[in-house]
């Protein structure tokens, strides 16, 4: 009889005892994770051995930075939490740029890193780094798990923290012995974190105050940031703008939050914003910021930013309010909830005079380039992408001139269709982000618009797209320059092109390489694409752009189209750093 009881008990206990590694798998499953990006290593082998049997799609990146950008692109395109797993030491340090990119743009992500065994932490062990120390300023929160009993709770908490409030990346660092240790603790159904309670509902008094200001305003502007996309508040925004006829300008992060084909769309504002948007913001009497943070690339000189306007600010992050610009009507809360409460209080209005003024500004300086030239211009390539896809694509970008042209010459009409590193400005983001986006949205055309400089930064990830049959399209605007930096050298550094000319000709004297072996292309992206198993096409003239793009979009696997554009085309309009939004440069003098 005694023996029988013992047997029963053991059976029961066996059923729920699990290792830390198993807790990770169960926690991820419970959080609804379907796709994981990452790269294995010694300190995460236990988790990977459990992945062997787990029902996830695992996408093996070739560099941890790539894995983090893939998880980030997946999160931006789908709205779900992106997930990646990396090893200790260099695995974790390689992930830092991706975490910082996601942190700067408020992207929900959970990154699991392996760590050397607890007993070896602090001993300068092989592949040891103080991962929680290093990632503390670039994550919303991070954990070093010291006891396996805490692990199930920590995983559940990580997903809640990553996806609520202002979203952001969360890192969980798990020592190898904790992955191997066993626990009885279940994954909790709900989490309760006493120091973490993001405000969701806006204060009714503040919302009424804002509604009154809107009803009184003669020349209001909605200035919209990435919060409207992460808060899924696009519909409410459109309803508010239409009801009260308020023109809408979006930041780079918010492209697509308001259809750019709408007559009320002012398009992007700021350093490379439109003339109409920057004028509207500078002359409005009420500026309603929705999920934006008055970034320095938006405001220009703070002292001359929207000087005549009452400034209202709707944001889920209390620390964003009043950070750089004094706010008259702050509303802390989730944008979707706040807008829903606000709309019924707002009266229908027309603002005809104001809209007429805006239309005049739009006519005065539209976004434009030389369409008559026979030269292949970067803007033309982007416009062709827009026309061929009919605007129905997910665009990712690298960072630089091409990124701004991608913002100017493609009209975004839906949220989560423009994925770009806005805050941190991470070159090398676009290609892996495109892979992540395509992994989450299989039926969409995904296009990475890159420069020749930044596309090289994570080009190795192209094999991942080939491997998984993810038909991303990498369109390289090749001007043989680090173009944006070269443009700043033109404008502010006496045209001294130090370290920005990637081709061997036209380099400064001290950068010339004395060699008879001068390859024509540096690198040859067509060969590089082929070496990775993708289609590679080079385009040298205007007439070849559309056929090449069509071929790329139609081909089954990934494709790289390298467009050899005019080398020294500059990006306009531009507000020089430290100038007012009204001091726009429209052309190089």
């Amino acid at each position: 009889m005694y023996a029988y009881h013992l047997f029963l008990n053991i059976k029961k206990v066996n059923h729920i005892v699990k290792t830390g590694a198993k807790c990770v798998i169960e926690g991820l499953q419970k959080a609804g994770v379907k796709t994981i990006f990452g790269l294995p290593g010694g300190a995460v082998l236990d988790i990977f051995s459990k992945l062997y049997h787990a029902p996830f799609e695992f996408i093996l990146a070739r560099h941890e930075q790539g894995a983090t950008h893939m998880a980030d692109g997946y999160a931006r395109a789908t709205g779900k939490v992106g997930c990646c797993i990396v090893t200790s030491g260099p695995g974790a340090t390689n992930a830092v740029t991706g975490l910082a990119t996601a942190y700067a743009d408020g992207i929900p992500m959970v990154c699991i890193s392996g760590q050397v065994p607890s007993s070896m932490i602090g001993n300068d062990a092989f592949q040891e780094a103080d991962t929680t120390g290093i990632t503390r300023p670039v994550t919303k929160h991070n954990y070093l798990v010291s006891n396996v009993d805490d692990l199930p709770r920590i995983i559940a908490e990580a997903f809640v923290i990553a996806s609520t409030g202002k979203p952001g990346p969360v890192l969980i660092d798990i020592p190898k012995d904790v992955q191997q240790a066993t626990t009885l603790a279940p994954i909790p159904e709900t989490v309760e974190i006493r120091g973490y309670r993001p405000t969701i509902k806006g204060h009714p008094g503040q919302i009424s105050k804002l509604a009154k200001a809107i009803n009184k305003a003669r020349s209001p502007v909605l200035y919209v940031g990435g919060g409207v996309i992460s808060g899924n508040a696009s519909e409410e925004l459109i309803e508010l703008a239409h009801k009260a006829q308020i023109p809408v300008t979006t930041t780079l992060m918010a492209l697509g939050a308001f259809p750019e084909t709408d007559p009320l769309a002012l398009r992007m504002l700021g350093m490379h914003g439109t003339y109409a948007a920057n004028n509207a913001v500078s002359h409005c009497d009420l500026l309603i910021s929705v999920g934006a943070r008055f970034d320095d690339r938006i405001t220009g000189t703070i002292s001359s930013f929207a000087t005549n306007a009452i400034k209202a600010h709707i944001d889920i992050d209390p620390s964003a309010i009043g950070k750089s610009v004094k706010t008259d009507i702050p509303v802390v809360g989730h944008v979707k909830d706040v807008l829903k409460d606000l709309i019924p209080k707002v009266n229908p209005a027309e603002h005809n005079e104001w809209l007429k003024q805006i239309a005049d500004w739009q006519k005065e300086y539209p976004l434009d380039y030389d369409r008559t030239t026979s030269d292949l211009l970067p803007q033309y390539v982007i416009e062709q992408i827009y026309e061929i896809t009919k605007g129905n694509a997910i665009i990712t970008t690298e960072v630089g001139q091409h990124q701004m042209w991608a913002a100017h010459f493609f009209k975004y009409t839906k949220p989560r269709t423009f994925l770009s590193s806005g805050g941190l400005g991470t070159m090398g983001y676009g290609l892996p982000a495109a892979i992540g986006a395509q992994a989450g949205m299989r039926d969409k055309i995904v296009v990475d618009i890159g420069g020749d400089g930044s596309t090289q930064m994570n080009f190795q990830e192209l094999v991942v797209a080939v491997e998984h049959g993810l038909p991303i399209n990498v369109i390289i605007i090749n001007n043989k320059r680090l173009g944006m930096v070269r443009q700043w050298q033109d404008m502010f550094y006496d045209k001294e092109h130090s370290a920005t000319i990637l081709a061997q000709h036209n380099r400064p004297q001290n950068e010339q390489i004395k060699s008879n072996n001068r390859p024509e292309y540096l690198p040859d992206f067509v060969k590089l694409a082929e070496a990775h198993g993708a289609l590679g096409i080079r385009v040298e003239s205007k007439k070849d752009v559309a056929p090449a793009l069509r071929k790329a979009f139609e081909t089954e696997g990934p494709a790289v189209v390298e467009c050899m554009v005019k080398e020294d085309e500059n990006l306009y309009p531009m507000v020089p750093p430290g100038a007012s939004l009204l001091d726009m440069v429209h052309k190089m003098t």
Binding site: T132, G133, R136, P137, K140, H141, L144, S146, I161, I193, R194, G195, Y196, D317, P318, S319, G322, K323
Partner: protein, 81 residues
């Protein structure tokens, strides 16, 4: 102006580093620092620190301290010099 900032936090490893990182990362010096578990609940600690610095910047720091997951409550008792 000198600020006396109190932060009620989780009594866990790494929390002090998070709090101090936000202040030192902006180039401000902490002149005085005191940390003790609260008598009512040993899982909670109270950090008291004296930080001289610009009012606006420290207001921002206080808001960001409040955002930290392990920080339960922050109060800034701005003190006359």
């Amino acid at each position: 102006m000198k600020h006396i900032i109190t932060a009620v936090v989780e009594n866990k490893p790494g929390v002090l580093a998070r709090v101090i990182g936000l202040i030192s990362g902006r180039g401000y010096n902490i002149e005085n620092l005191h940390v003790d578990p609260t008598p009512e609940d040993p899982d909670i600690s109270c950090i008291i620190m004296t930080v001289p610095g610009d009012d606006r910047v420290l207001e921002q720091v206080t808001k960001q301290l409040n955002k930290l997951v392990d920080v339960i409550k922050v109060t800034d008792h701005a003190e006359e010099k």
